[in-house]
């Protein structure tokens, strides 16, 4: 049999992802040399400590981050000892960008297996301005826990509880902000769509992540207090986050009142979100679950105090995923990414082109649009359900 040459079509199909990845790498490469304030005051000293003292460095309290990120840094140092420090600290985050894109690809593929939507979703994530800025330019690590959360969502949608909870545990071990997804997880648990015992993986992963540092000689209590210490670091209602507390003056006169008020509002929002999920009749479709997940990661940081500008990072990613599952929600990623991009500006560029209070209105619009969409679905499925019962 004579072997047929592949058609142009096939070659192009294979080339598109390659070219896209090449472009995504290229844009990141051009930004690598920037050194942010955070680099000088945090990541660079951490890097130097780990480089000079090696694994024994984990015995001391040299960083306010939880350990997994530092282990990753350590591995990078061991593998690429000659890389410039500002490049080395960005490499894990950049790799996570691509992993996040991969999970977005897989999620969209679950619902639309024969369309190019999945590929576009992956590119959407790789070329989102905040995703590019966060890792390659700024040198932040949000893409690491965010990609684990996207992976968690992917396995939840596939009803694979243990891999999902494993990834959630990993996400939480990297950053406390993984907790923004918690209302969604609790909703699934109460709906019986997720097994309670699978959640035991989360503390297990968290504790396991502490073991190397324990071995290096750091006291356990010290390790367990990393997240509480982070939470107590700043006495600010918001740190450039476009959250509801951007509408309250961030001064000592109002902080004692609105810091607890924000916590209470967030708890209420989370409870109502869980309640909404529990009251949703029938089986939840794939894209409906994704919308609830997005609702959790937008609403929680919107109401909590002490949020940073980048805490809507997971919301950025999930809004991109959701729009490929439900195209009518196009406004969500457009608003969310624009708001996040402008929220980065005070920290990264020292300017505030759009006031934070206006950006917070943008996030509020995202929340309203999303809950209106979900609410209408709850109502119409309730009506359909009653009609079915009437027929029986």
């Amino acid at each position: 049999v004579k072997r047929r040459l592949p058609s142009w079509q096939t070659v192009l199909d294979a080339l598109i992802p390659v070219l896209g990845i090449a472009l995504a790498l290229a844009v990141r490469y051009t930004l690598l040399d920037f050194k942010s304030v955070d680099y000088f005051s945090y990541t660079k000293p951490w890097y130097l400590t780990l480089k000079s003292s090696g694994f024994a460095g984990f015995g001391a309290d040299f960083s306010n981050y939880n350990l997994p990120y530092l282990y990753v840094l350590y591995v990078v140092i061991r593998l690429l000892p000659d890389a410039a420090p500002w490049v080395a600290i960005k490499l894990p985050s950049i790799a996570a960008d691509f992993l996040a894109a991969w999970f977005a690809f897989r999620i969209v593929r679950l619902q639309r297996p024969h369309s190019s939507a999945a590929l576009l979703a992956a590119f959407g994530i790789l070329f989102a301005p905040t995703v590019i800025l966060n890792s390659a330019y700024w040198g932040q690590a949000d893409s690491i826990y965010a990609c684990a959360l996207l992976g968690c969502l992917y396995f939840l949608l596939r009803r694979q509880d243990f891999p999902a909870m494993l990834l959630l545990g990993i996400a939480f071990a990297f950053k406390a902000q993984a907790v923004f997804l918690a209302p969604f997880i609790l909703g699934l648990l109460l709906r019986g769509e997720l097994r309670w015992r699978s959640t035991l993986v989360i503390p297990a992963v968290y504790l396991l992540a502490l073991v190397p540092a324990l071995a290096a000689g750091r006291p356990l209590l010290d390790l367990l207090l990393i997240y509480p210490a982070q939470a107590n670091q700043y006495e600010r209602l918001t740190l450039h986050a476009p959250s509801a507390l951007a509408w309250i003056p961030d001064t000592g006169r109002f902080y004692p009142f609105f810091y607890p008020a924000g916590l209470i509002a967030a708890a209420t929002g989370a409870i109502l979100l869980v309640l909404g999920m529990v009251r949703q009749p029938g089986k939840m479709s794939l894209d409906l679950q994704s919308r609830w997940a997005l609702a959790a990661v937008v609403l929680t940081p919107f109401l909590l105090p002490k949020m940073h500008e980048r805490y809507f990072y997971v919301a950025d990613l999930m809004s991109i995923v959701v729009v490929f599952l439900r195209p009518r929600l196009l406004a969500l990623p457009v608003l969310m990414l624009t708001v996040s991009f402008f929220a980065y500006q005070p920290t990264l560029f020292g300017v505030e082109p759009v006031p934070m209070s206006i950006l917070a209105l943008g996030v509020l619009a995202v929340i309203v649009i999303l809950f209106r969409d979900i609410g209408a679905e709850i109502w119409s499925s309730a009506l359909a359900d009653s009609n079915n019962r009437a027929v029986k």
């Binding site: 109460l190 003056p249 008020a261 209420t268 309640l275 529990v278 009251r279 009749p281 119409s380 359900d385």
Partner: protein
């Protein structure tokens, strides 16, 4: 089939036939709701220690006067408020003398918050399918609405006392208990003059015969009963009757951070002198138009209709009146929440109204103007336009139609066209 008047026993509970017993009541919902109510209390608890300018300038001196001089203080004009709120302060000072001042002056309004939440729940329950959690959600939305939380717990204002009276009027009107409803309205009016914005609607309904007119006689009776203790304490009757007139002449600003039409004018003395009288007449015009619309409505008023009318009244009249304060849209905030639970497709109405109130509180409470007042006025005008349009189209004599698919009762008029 004609739509029965509100208050009659056979008014259809919309949606009941299609969604009855549909959503299972379960322990998760109950537990969540109880926790949320506890959180609403906690939210007020963490805000209560705040002392506003008004607290130092008015509330604290009043409370101290009451506490030091006892009941005889009511013989004097130590406060610009109508007596009922002051009686409540007296009761607190008399029976709980150890209460901190900042708590004492806020407790009446905080209790009214609870009463408002209860009445919101009862009103929406009248109109919701059985076992739905919409009534509870409505109460929670009220309890967590930013302008509601700020007004009582943070600022120490008493607008929720007025709102409680108004919601009582609404609830008992819906139930057909018109005598109780009129007393509630009288109570609202005795707490705050702003209840008067509803008067054109009440008059129109009474003159038209939609509600009996005799119970309305209890309104002046309640007002007189409210000032009677002060009169007995020795304050001249003329002075007591003139409290509201005095309040109206107190400040000479065309608007006091209210997102009214006059936010579009400069806040100068000149403008005030030139436009104050015109503004009063304009406010009367708004009231008159509202009266005409309520009076000429061809359909017998339903609950939804009544809420719509009341909401428009509490938006339109203060919108066109001069000298309005930022918190004079408080009844509109509360009614907008009720409105949205009766017309779920119009969920954006309370978002806009409460949002405008929240941002117009900022200049006074936080001493900054995040969103310029003229913009807030623009938002309110758009809301008012939408509401009036919906109200008129809801009034058109159309046959009853089934629920639309998306939401119950969403724009019934449009579905017909």
């Amino acid at each position: 089939m004609t739509t029965p008047a509100f208050g009659s026993k056979d008014e259809p509970r919309t949606g009941q036939s299609s969604t009855r017993n549909l959503i299972p009541s379960n322990w998760v919902a109950h537990a969540a709701l109880i926790v949320c109510v506890a959180l609403a209390l906690a939210l007020r608890y963490v805000l209560i220690e705040f002392r506003s300018v008004d607290f130092y300038a008015s509330l604290k001196p009043w409370y101290n006067a009451i506490r030091s001089e006892g009941f005889s203080v009511f013989a004097t004009d130590f406060s610009t408020y109508n007596p009922p709120y002051l009686y409540m302060l007296y009761l607190i000072a008399r029976f709980f003398p150890s209460t901190a001042v900042v708590w004492a002056v806020k407790i009446p309004a905080l209790m009214a918050d609870g009463l408002c939440a209860l009445l919101t729940y009862l009103i929406i329950r009248q109109e919701s399918p059985q076992r739905s959690i919409l009534p509870q959600m409505a109460a929670l939305v009220f309890l967590f609405a930013p302008s509601v939380v700020l007004n009582s717990a943070f600022w120490g204002q008493a607008d929720s006392l007025l709102a409680a009276g108004l919601l009582g009027w609404l609830y008992f009107s819906i139930r057909g208990r018109h005598a109780v409803a009129a007393i509630c309205y009288g109570v609202a009016l005795a707490f705050k003059l702003q209840a008067i914005f509803l008067a054109p609607v009440l008059l129109a309904l009474a003159l038209k015969g939609s509600v009996p007119w005799r119970p309305l006689l209890s309104v002046p009776a309640v007002l007189l009963a409210a000032i009677a203790p002060s009169w007995l304490a020795g304050r001249p009757l003329g002075q007591l009757l003139g409290i509201y007139l005095h309040q109206a002449s107190q400040f000479e600003y065309i608007t006091m951070n209210a997102a009214s039409a006059y936010a579009w004018l400069p806040g100068s003395k000149q403008v005030f002198n030139d436009f104050y009288q015109a503004g009063v007449v304009l406010g009367l015009c708004a009231a008159f138009i509202l009266f005409v619309v309520s009076y000429r409505n061809p359909r017998p008023p339903t609950t939804r209709h009544l809420v719509g009318l009341a909401l428009v009244a509490f938006l339109a009249v203060p919108f066109f009146l001069p000298k309005m304060h930022d918190r004079y849209f408080y009844p509109a905030d509360v009614l907008a929440i009720v409105y949205a639970f009766l017309f779920p497709a119009r969920f954006y109405i309370p978002l806009a109204v409460v949002g405008v109130s929240f941002f117009s509180y900022q200049p006074f409470l936080f001493e900054r103007e995040l969103i310029p007042l003229p913009c807030l006025t623009g938002v309110l005008l758009v809301v008012l336009g939408i509401l009036v349009h919906k109200m008129i189209s809801d009034m058109r004599p159309t046959p009853d139609v089934a629920l639309s698919s998306d939401f119950p009762d969403s724009d019934v008029g449009e579905a017909v066209r």
